[in-house]
């Protein structure tokens, strides 16, 4: 059953903002136009999970969210 949908929306917005801040890269500009947002998001999520040594699932599991919520440097982890 769907649980806590409001919280999930908040988390997904948080995840999107995080990935756009730190994992936007040139790949995004050259991604095929038919890629939808979710595919791009999952790819960015995988890069983030790989960088932090998390299990690479492409899903924002609780462990991934916990890392995203840590205080950090504002410079992107990939790209210039």
């Amino acid at each position: 059953a769907p649980v806590d949908l409001v919280r999930n929306d908040v988390d997904m917005n948080f995840v999107k903002n995080y990935l756009n801040n730190y994992y936007s890269s040139e790949d995004e500009a050259i991604a095929p136009f038919y890629y939808d947002d979710n595919v791009t998001l999952a790819e960015k999520l995988k890069k983030m999970q790989q960088f932090f040594g998390l299990e690479v699932t492409g899903n924002p599991d609780s462990e991934t969210l916990a890392v995203m919520k840590k205080p950090r440097c504002g410079v992107p982890d990939l790209g210039t």
Binding site: N21, Y22, F51, F52, G53, E55, V67, K70, P71, R72, C73, G74, V75, P76, D77, G79, T80
Partner: protein, 368 residues
């Protein structure tokens, strides 16, 4: 380590910096000192030198900013983004901005330590990007380290020297490396169980092994900012649901995430003679409530129920634990066996037969 895309670098090694404004959270002299020390982190590992300017344009302009500060990278208020910096270059290049809405500090674990954050950001100013080495200064998330104990990790030394070359000195700096679980050379400082989990201490970090979760590596300071690194012995006190940690002639008692009030205490309170300067290893037996302490080639036995050191000790390790010692790194009782960690080997000791039953590589305990 990772270099910034395009490998930007300063064309000179004599770099200038200027502090444009101050945070009200700290004394100005503490800000000056934190920035100076943060720059020394990099100048001590490379041919770079830094000179402070008090007016005009410096290579690195350092300031505290709030929200949108007209560089296309607005800050986000307390927590989240703490600071950012720009790669080497003209104008905004090399500049460092700290989020003024953070709580900045020069000592202790309250707020964010300006020295640690500045040292990281100045790494970007020198041309380093984020490292995926969790122990590196250039790792993107904040981790507190006692500033006066800080040593630039080897990953960052390798990074800065890849850009600017080595120091003009026959003796090159070396720094701590992040332990790798499955490295065949992996050894442990101390090992203990706690509430069904296992903790393997190594340098500034420890591996946490939970039966249902993957192995995780954490900084000791992340959980217990006041504990030192390089813990020497540890055991679980089953009677009191506590973790007891030793370093030198001091010990700490932890209940969950909390260090119990009044610690560290001297090990001499436990009944050790003054000739004992440190404990090599310890384990506790939940059945008898006895704790065994190993020092050199001898061991002591402590009664957790009576809270006294037992008479008749120390004894020779070889007398009771044949085939073990004399020098033990860590000890653990698990599933009826006692495990003695010695270098890269772990000896499984059977208390019933009083013999070493098997010898394996230490990091088999880390699923390797």
């Amino acid at each position: 380590f990772t270099l910034t895309d395009g490998n930007p670098k300063w064309k000179r090694t004599n770099i200038t910096y200027r502090i444009l404004n101050y945070t009200p959270d700290m004394h100005q002299s503490d800000v000056d000192n934190a920035i100076k020390k943060a720059l020394e982190v990099w100048s001590n590992a490379s041919p770079l030198t830094f000179k402070r300017l008090y007016d005009g344009i410096a290579d690195i302009m350092i300031s505290f900013e709030v929200r949108d500060h007209r560089d296309n990278s607005p800050f986000d208020g307390p927590n989240g983004i703490l600071a950012h910096a720009f790669q080497p270059g003209d104008n905004i290049g090399g500049d460092v901005h700290f989020d003024e809405e953070e709580s900045w500090s020069s000592k202790g674990t309250r707020g964010y330590n300006l020295f640690i954050v500045a040292a990281h950001e100045l790494g970007h100013s020198m041309g380093l990007s984020h490292s995926d080495d969790a122990g590196a200064l250039m790792y993107p998330t904040y981790s507190y380290t006692e500033p006066h104990l800080f040593r630039l990790p080897q990953d960052d030394i390798d990074g800065i020297q890849a850009i600017y070359g080595k120091l003009d000195n026959p003796v090159q700096p070396t720094g701590p490396t992040t332990p790798k679980a499955c490295d065949p050379r992996t050894t442990f400082d101390a090992v203990a169980s706690i509430r069904g989990e296992m903790m393997f201490f190594k340098g500034r970090q420890f591996w946490r092994k939970h039966p249902q979760l993957d192995l995780e590596l954490y900084f000791i300071a992340l959980f217990w900012p006041n504990l030192p690194s390089r813990i020497e012995a540890a055991y679980e006190n089953y009677e009191k649901d506590q973790l007891v940690l030793f370093k030198g002639n001091q010990y700490w008692v932890l209940n969950g995430y909390d260090i119990q009030y009044g610690y560290p205490k001297s090990i001499y309170h436990l009944g050790f003679p003054k000739t004992v300067k440190k404990i090599d290893a310890a384990f506790s037996d939940p059945e008898s409530g006895k704790t065994y302490f190993f020092v050199g080639n001898k061991y002591w036995r402590y009664d957790e129920i009576r809270q006294t050191m037992e008479a008749g000790y120390p004894k020779n390790i070889a007398q009771t634990f044949k085939g073990v010692g004399p020098k033990i790194d860590a000890a653990l009782q698990h599933d009826g066996y006692v495990y003695f960690f010695q270098g890269t080997k772990v000896l499984q000791f059977n208390p019933n037969s009083r013999r070493v039953q098997s010898v394996q590589r230490s990091n088999t305990w880390l699923n390797c």
